[in-house]
Symmetry: C2
DNA sequence: TTGTAGGCGTTATCAG
DNA sequence: CTGATAACGCCTACAA
């Protein structure tokens, strides 16, 4: 059994109130007594029981973090950004994996509601989020990252998906490409619709007719990348492809290698996520670097300021984090 | 403010004791009262306060999970295995990132001690772990995964590092290789020493003299893989290399491509971790598949049985999970 | 400057 | 079959 504040008080020969106050520096304690108390704590190896403290203070110094896939590097980078920033401020993180399923997410929210959490950061799962109006009881602030939920308003930290896609398309177009494929994810996702918007904007600006059959929607999976690439290249005659996820790029490479389609001569590629392995494929892969870690950091900052009550303003804010395009051989052999 | 058990009791016109018992099915409740109570709970959207419950029951249905790097796929796979298995049993996970630093780990353990955790699963950080004798107070069972801690005994789930390395070496030797490099991690790690043991056993069995300069120890990083590969190939004249980490393999590929050293003709490679991208490098990479997810699952199972008290036996157990070698072109062009 | 005591929301031990 | 009530460990208003 761990020592409690009573044990400390007894040994130090003071009241529990005094012990509590010395621990929390919440009222004056004479030097003599402070010494006796700290000595007693030392002797017992006393650590305040955080559960009892949470119950009493009605706050836990803990925040919930929900991500759709704990095996996806992008999301764990977000998680790391969140964790590091929050730990700096004395908060712990309860991590949950929604498996991108609304049902799991909703279940976890119920648990969160019972844990006296101080806040919640989440990458919303696929689907409609108006259920959150009921599920969340306003006991703690919520911040969304990476995807914007449908049907629910809140602070939101995202990448500049529209602009990055727009920029990628401008580069392809400048290289002379006219049939450009966009290999992207589920159309329900805000990231997907934003990318499509950027894609269309760029093409229209150059009076290129948008061929909807070149906008391929699937899942962020290897198989989906394989299939959609086949369709875009074989049927769509695409000469350039932009991928919304690294997993899809891998599937695409598998297909292109099988078919002995040359990169970038026959088809030029730009992928998402500047993972280390994109440098050692042949040809090396051009990528849009996604600062996921920074997304997490920013989300944590915004949440902290909400917890601090600076959100007296009910106005929700949207934050966009800039991406960066890194050109390598898969875009053009001119690149190093 | 959330509804409490008192509110429910008042509305249902019963005592809090009765409400508690209907919730927990812990003593008989008449059908009539049960209905009134559930109706009241429904009406209030009542959810039991888990913090109060933890304090009262002295258990939290929560376990701690500490991993050395939350951005490393291997460890997050372990985490996912743990999370999925534990959630099936109604447990939540508090995840922490030790950043492979003993100081962070120790700090987090203090927090864990104050949270009424029901158990702890950890991949120990680099270093000496005898401090755990003091830091852990036996309030909850602990299970180690992937690495064995130095200086502390406990249940331990690991991969068969020695055997897998041994098998890899046998394959290289059968192919005629005599100068084989082992590119591995920090020598403090149990995984490293086990691999070295497997390496030596295989060579000695074939009366190949072990050249210590071919056993390269570094960190699981890109740069380390680059440097150690250079040394092994340039100075060590290695014709085959086995890598303990995928990151090191990427560094190695960068070096070999720069030098236009042919794989597998000049140097044959086998890497760890069957990541999807290893299939689309050229040549495709041979790998040792590490069932990290299963490690996590097993760890969770062992912990659950300890929590259930089946560990009346103080005897700690060691579990080994089998790996699988997948041969592709980097081993020999004969492979598909 | 320090102590007393009530209560956070549950559960469990008594009674009735 | 159900209800009071103490206790889990801590914090804080009030009292001294």
């Amino acid at each position: 059994m761990n020592a409690s504040i009573k044990d400390v008080a007894k040994i130090a020969g003071v009241s529990t109130a005094t012990v509590s106050h010395t621990i929390n520096n919440t009222r004056f304690v004479s030097e003599d007594i402070r010494k006796r108390v700290t000595a007693a704590m030392e002797q017992l190896g006393y650590q305040p029981n955080l559960v009892a403290r949470s119950l009493r203070r009605q706050e836990s110094k803990t925040i919930g973090l929900m991500i759709p896939d704990i095996s996806n590097f992008v999301y764990t980078r977000v998680a790391e950004g969140v964790e590091v920033k929050l730990r700096e401020h004395g908060y712990h993180v309860i991590l949950s994996n929604s498996h991108d399923k609304l049902s799991v997410e909703a279940e976890m929210i119920k648990v969160y509601n019972s844990l006296l959490l101080d806040g919640l950061i989440m990458i919303p799962a696929l689907g409609e989020h108006s259920y959150l109006h009921k599920a969340l009881r306003g006991n703690y602030p919520v911040v969304f990252v990476d995807r914007r939920p449908k049907g629910f308003e809140g602070d939101c930290i995202m990448l500049d998906n529209m602009k990055s896609t727009y920029d990628v398309m401008k580069m392809f177009i400048a290289k002379g490409h006219r049939r450009i494929g966009l290999i992207t994810g589920d159309p329900q996702l805000s990231t997907t619709s934003e990318r499509i918007q950027g894609y269309k904007n760029a093409l229209r600006e150059h009076t290129i007719v948008v061929d909807e059959s070149l906008i391929k929607k699937g899942s962020f999976s290897h198989g989906s990348g394989y299939d959609l690439t086949r369709d875009a290249v074989k049927e769509g005659k695409a000469t350039a492809l932009f991928f919304a996820s690294d997993m899809m790029t891998i599937g695409a490479l598998a297909f292109l290698q099988e078919q002995k389609i040359r990169i970038p001569q026959d088809v030029a590629l730009i992928s998402c996520n500047n993972f280390k392995w994109t440098e050692i494929t042949q040809p090396s892969l051009s990528v849009v670097e996604q600062p996921s870690y920074e997304e997490g950091q920013k989300a944590a900052e915004v949440l902290l300021s909400r917890i601090a009550g600076e959100g007296g303003e009910t106005q929700f804010k949207e934050y966009r984090i800039a991406t960066r395009i890194i050109l390598r051989q898969s875009f053009s052999m001119d690149e190093s």
